[in-house]
């Protein structure tokens, strides 16, 4: 149902875009995404399958997160060309497909369906955007090639394209490793992260919001399925590198988008901890808090400037616009994982999974790096209270959403139990 709605809207809008004004296409896109979200909620907890397309708990939780990111992005942007909204819609379609299949070939098609629109979206601002997009494209294509070779080897080792098919031998291990590399690129796990800071810095901020939230959610759904029969040993190495590199490199950053890029690498490392037990509930909750907080941070940044945002330019934001300043402050605290906020429970749940799996070394490292991350998250969050001349021209819609999400972060932090059963029903 969700797939049908997204597909019909994206195909219909491809042609309707020529007759409707861009604002009309924007509204129609929002409507389509909202309808898809609604259909998702109406069938919550009810599995559905049609051929290799299988909607189950994992698919529903992660599609929900991806659609939230897409809605937010479309809402923030005011484009003169209707293709922008269309590309987001097509990418959302790919994300839903990626989260809803165990078939490796379909996963590959979905991976391309979500990546190709994003390559185009990254170019939306010419000049710097082009460079970012080329980097994103070349490394994304490389990731797809790795994923494909993993698929081919998986097929050779098991005779099937369905992930979760048991197998053994070096060929099987190599196949899983290659699949992990391919998806690792997409979720920005170190050492496959090096595109992230450049692309985040060079792309338009609303697009970065989309990349940081929705892509990560969809790719983690696929990662969850690929890693479900048994996590490859290499994963622990990826996690160690991600949390170390992400947090340490973020310490020296002077530009907010770059800082958040490194933070997203570190967060990918934390999220990957939940793969050891394959607990979709913990991963889903973490991603929800991450999507809300990162999305909020990027949404505020996009109101400050569509271009680069040096940390100095955030100074005085609280004086200029208390709501936006406070929202950025709350978002960075939630990303840090400070107790009264939702991010704390996300980290708590994921670390609990690592403990259950007996990964004590990783757990200690994750806790230590979390403490280190306080330095740059506080630097980002407290910058808004310092004296300075921040510029911000927020639109009412963006402010209302920022207020809503900030409240949600607080509420989820105070009553995390209110949502966990729903996530459990989904997964």
């Amino acid at each position: 149902m969700t797939l049908a709605i997204l597909a019909v809207f994206s195909v219909a809008l491809t042609l309707l875009g020529f007759v409707l004004p861009p604002q009309g296409v924007k509204r129609a896109t929002l409507l389509g995404l909202a309808l898809a979200l609604l259909s998702l909620l109406l069938t919550w907890g009810k599995p559905f399958a049609f051929g290799p397309y299988t909607v189950d708990g994992v698919s529903q939780v992660f599609t929900l997160l991806a659609l939230l990111g897409a809605l937010w992005t479309v809402g923030l942007v005011r484009s003169r060309r209707f293709e922008f909204y269309l590309l987001v819609l097509y990418a959302a379609l790919g994300m839903h497909l990626l989260a809803s299949t165990r078939h490796l070939l379909l996963m590959l098609v979905a991976l391309e369906a979500l990546s190709l629109p994003l390559y185009a979206l990254a170019t939306w601002r010419r000049g710097q955007g082009l460079e970012a997009a080329l980097k994103y494209f070349l490394l994304g294509a490389l990731a797809a090639a790795f994923f494909l070779y993993g698929t081919a080897l998986f097929y050779g080792a098991t005779g099937s394209f369905l992930v979760g098919t048991p197998g053994q031998g070096p060929l099987y291990a190599l196949a899983l490793g290659l699949l992990l590399v391919g998806l690792g690129f997409k979720v920005a796990l170190a050492p496959f992260h090096f595109w992230t800071p450049d692309v985040y810095q060079g792309s338009p901020t609303p697009v970065v919001l989309f990349m940081a939230t929705s892509v990560k959610a969809a790719a983690f759904a696929a990662l969850l399925r690929v890693a479900s029969p048994g996590v490859p040993d290499a994963l622990s190495l990826l996690i160690v590198l991600s949390v170390l590199l992400g947090n340490l490199a973020a310490l020296g950053q002077k530009e907010a988008k770059r800082l958040l890029a490194y933070s997203s690498i570190a967060h990918a490392g934390y999220m990957a901890l939940a793969l050891y037990t394959g607990n979709a509930q913990a991963l889903g909750f973490y991603l929800l808090t991450y999507v809300l907080a990162t999305g909020l941070a990027f949404a505020v940044l996009s109101e400050v400037s569509p271009d680069r945002v040096p940390l100095e330019s955030l100074r005085g934001l609280f004086r200029k616009d208390p709501l936006l300043g406070l929202a950025l402050f709350l978002a960075s605290l939630s990303l840090l994982g400070l107790p009264p906020l939702a991010g704390f429970w996300g980290k708590y749940l994921v670390f609990l999974e690592a403990a259950k799996a007996g990964q004590w070394g990783l757990l200690v490292l994750a806790l230590l790096t979390s403490a280190v991350s306080a330095y740059y998250y506080l630097g980002l969050g407290l910058a808004v209270f310092q004296k300075g001349e921040a510029e911000a021209l927020p639109r009412p819609w963006a402010r209302n959403v920022a207020l809503l999400v900030a409240l949600l972060l607080l509420l989820l932090g105070l009553f995390p139990g209110s949502l966990l059963p729903a996530l459990a029903a989904g997964s």
């Binding site: 070939l105 590959l108 098609v109 391309e112 190709l116 390559y119 185009a120 170019t123 010419r126 000049g127 710097q128 082009l130 460079e131 970012a132 997009a133 080329l134 980097k135 494209f137 070349l138 294509a141 490389l142 797809a144 090639a145 790795f146 494909l148 070779y149 698929t151 081919a152 080897l153 097929y155 050779g156 005779g159 099937s160 394209f161 800071p197 450049d198 810095q201 060079g202 950053q253 002077k254 530009e255 770059r258």
Partner: protein
């Protein structure tokens, strides 16, 4: 077994190309080489496991074509913007 070896060789060649070439088009070409290496092994494995692999190879060709369309579009746009496609020239984003 020989097709597997050939495909592994082709894949390694592609990776080598990605790492050493400095022009966007040549890097992209190497990536296509990797895709086709996977295709070769898919078709090869299809001998043991049935037709699925060959159908997969067809889909990969289509995916590769879609990638080419977007990628070449990007590269052309960049060339028009700055008259060069050398990856090393693209270094505005550092820090």
């Amino acid at each position: 077994m020989s097709y597997l070896l050939a495909s592994a060789l082709l894949f390694a060649l592609g990776v080598y190309g990605v790492l050493t070439r400095r022009t966007a088009i040549l890097v992209f070409l190497s990536i296509e080489l990797m895709l086709n290496a996977a295709n070769l092994s898919l078709v090869g494995f299809a001998r043991a496991h049935g037709l699925d692999g060959q159908v997969a190879a067809l889909m990969v060709i289509a995916i590769a074509a879609a990638e080419v369309a977007v990628g070449l579009g990007l590269i052309v746009a960049i060339f028009r913007h700055r008259e060069s496609t050398a990856v090393d020239d693209l270094s505005e984003l550092r820090g």
